[in-house]
Subunit: 339 residues, 3 copies
């Protein structure tokens, strides 16, 4: 594809050599003359000037001396679009590998690819164009929408329902039993974990992440939500749409998370807490059981507080030894001190 | 099963229509006329009154207007018992799947089911009635008691010993090498990790949890202990009986954990610490290496302190900016202030 | 092997019965008369005196009454060396299991063992003497150096490059997509995750650990670095040589970690932070995004501070309720107080 063709495709303004061929994407630093890069911020100017990229996506109104550029309103988004055109995903349609075990009572739509040693049990439905990786396990009655990508070794327990275009990375476990016991007669008695798990369209789930099914009710993950690696989502949790949840975060039972929520890594949320839409939880934040984080607020710390409050408190924390010293002085009869 | 029969089975007091048929269990909110629900607390009264459940388990002495109820001393426990009767676990006895690779030197008792692509190596013993899921790996000499359920893709390293009725969820890894090195000659030298791992009866282990074998000694998990998803248990750790350990908790090497200990999620325990029996560690608590948490105490925070102390300290923490302001005032010659 | 032979092999000074046969290694407490143990510290003296071990490694100049000892400069290191001689790793060279699926376009060097149900795709290169466990998945173009051990169920995404003598534990996922999205048009748009992952020689990676490939650039792990279980390493992270990273630590995107860095468990590092060589991060420490931890420093707490500063602050924290009480008293007109 030429730079000219690409500029037309993504609706950008070309400046420079339109006939140049592009064959891939890369970062400014590593791009070669047949690769597209992007420069989003003004600070990227110097790196852009030094880049060997064949073409550079820049913000509207910007340019780079002696470089071929395509100006677009949002260079990083333009780069994503361009990447789809320049580097189409290698989807090998191999059909059903002869070693895959597919129940005669499962229904696979057209264009489905199933890798070696995958196991697809009774009543499973797999939508058109899904790619099911090697050694994936789909339990009885699992439903997958169209266009899903399950990387090797994903495990989905019976009855879990997955939407369209969902991406699940290796080692993720969906629909495992929640962690619920009743202590009686001197031991922990397992409470039934027989509820559902429903995952919406366009969700992505990271490697080795675990999502439990509901105990009696339903665990649900809303459309467009993105979940990183090694995240734990407990039974009966309800997550809204287009949320972003970074690695190693843990969400306890029956928590509600609104739409467009953003969580940093290693966040912990106690059971029955409620995170309002568009709230932001800083990395490592800890929300106590039953607490409410109001919509649109940013919280941080463990236990989590509004960001401003946390920062004020934290600033004082650093000065605590000096403060203690001062109080000691005052109580010795100090009063006004020269310092 | 009729409500009458069920009441008799669990020893409860029936009030209402005993001839009604029950076919399953559900929550108060979602139960239909053929399902059993339970109402534990007085607060559940309104929800019980609005429920469409065919029958409701209630505490002794309680009832719900116009509803069929069974009164028992502990409704949630009664519900667990009833669930076993109404919703028997779907254990398909399929025998050994033809694609499972079972060493001729392994010994499988009667009624064992082994899923597709499982690998069972030399010297493995599997007790009666075990269910070994798809793609499970059991290394040389692993021992499983009777009635265990290993969900798909569990991995057990050689020599690990598992008790009776143990449930292990997908992706869990048992018996991996501990993390031990000696720094010498400019590099980390791997210390031998050749000890044992012994798991007691009635233990449950969550999805993608990891439990290391001992280095020279033994890692052990006592009878009835329940471990959630993504938990890490290091080498030489000894956990007592009937403990409960929530998700993403990490227990470092050589830690001792007593009986009936309860840990919230994301707890961290430093090496050689000792957690007394019936201690409770709040979510996210961090116990320093070598520390002792006394039996029966509740601790919280990082580093962990007794709960009361933590709460007092934490309350002051919120008031720290105001305290600093006050000290500033006093040191300016303030003395008594009007506020 | 006799004690005499072993002493010669590891260059130690024998005292006692040189003709005794040794057949294995053990801890002081559990060792029998045919096993070697070690006593590193003077405190181990009593345990050494009570040990039934056939021989004990002790520091130069030390001895144990009535015991056969071998004195070496570094008993724990000597023990590692002795273990290699006394307890050679059980590497069964079984060749390629008939159920392993090896692409005709993959290249396996001599002495490679591949377990049942492993899948090795196009363009993979496996170095001499590698052991690839059951159900391991190696994607297109993966490269393994010589002498690697991949335990069962390791997954490596396409294009990842692994050095020599690397050990990877079960359930680890290498080369998964990084977590990068651009929020536009009301949803999270997936940024390309098409970079590389390069793992150096002598690295060890724990069970269920996840390491993402670069987005456009490269994620790299330096020679000799050891990584525990359930660790998350995000895209574009660069880790130096001989670092040690304990369990459940999470390292965010584009972080740089120097050589010989040591991290405790559950550490969290924000994106673009920089950890200088030989720095030590205490268990649970949290480094803010973009922060620099200077080479050789020890930090702790969340957010992380230099250890001394943290300890001072933390000591005051415990006294905070008393401090507040004192200030209240002073502001009531207290001045000098008797206590």
């Amino acid at each position: 594809m030429t730079v000219e063709e690409l500029a037309r495709l993504i609706g950008g303004e070309l400046r420079g050599e339109g006939k140049r061929e592009l064959r891939g994407i890369a970062a400014l630093e590593s791009a070669g003359p047949e690769e597209l890069a992007y420069a989003e911020s003004p600070r990227a100017g110097a790196r852009a000037a030094a880049s060997r990229a064949g073409a550079i996506l820049v913000p509207l109104g910007a340019s780079v001396v002696d470089k071929t550029t395509i100006a677009v309103p949002h260079p990083k988004l333009g780069f994503i679009r361009a990447a789809e055109a320049l580097r189409p995903p290698v989807r090998r349609v191999e059909g059903i590998h002869p070693t895959a075990i597919v129940s005669p009572e499962a229904a696979l739509a057209s264009g489905v690819s199933v890798g070696p040693y995958a196991v697809i049990e009774r009543g499973v439905r797999v939508g058109a164009g899904c790619s099911v990786g090697a050694s994936v396990f789909l339990g009885d009655g699992v439903g997958l929408g169209g266009g899903c990508v399950l990387h090797p070794r994903v495990t989905i327990y019976p009855g879990v329902s997955i939407g369209n275009r969902v991406i699940i990375h290796s080692g993720a476990v969906l629909g495992s039993d929640g962690f619920g016991y009743v202590f009686a007669e001197g031991r922990q008695q397992k409470f039934p974990q027989v509820g559902k798990l429903v995952v919406g369209d366009d969700v992505e789930i990271g490697a080795n992440t675990t999502v439990d099914r509901g105990s009696l009710g339903t665990t649900s993950i809303g459309e467009g939500t993105k979940i990183d690696n090694l995240v734990q989502i407990a039974h009966n949790v309800r997550i809204g749409r287009h949320a972003v949840i970074a690695a190693q975060t843990g969400i306890s039972g029956s928590v509600e998370v609104g739409d467009y929520v953003v969580m940093g890594g290693q966040v912990g949320i106690g059971d029955h807490a409620c995170i309002g839409s568009r709230a932001v939880l800083g990395g490592g934040a800890g929300v106590l059981p039953g607490k409410i984080v109001r919509p649109g607020t940013t919280v941080w710390g463990r236990p989590a507080r509004p960001l401003d409050e946390f920062k004020r408190m934290y600033a004082q924390l650093s000065r605590l030894p000096a403060l203690a010293e001062k109080v000691k002085e005052l109580s010795k009869g100090g009063g006004r001190s020269p310092s």
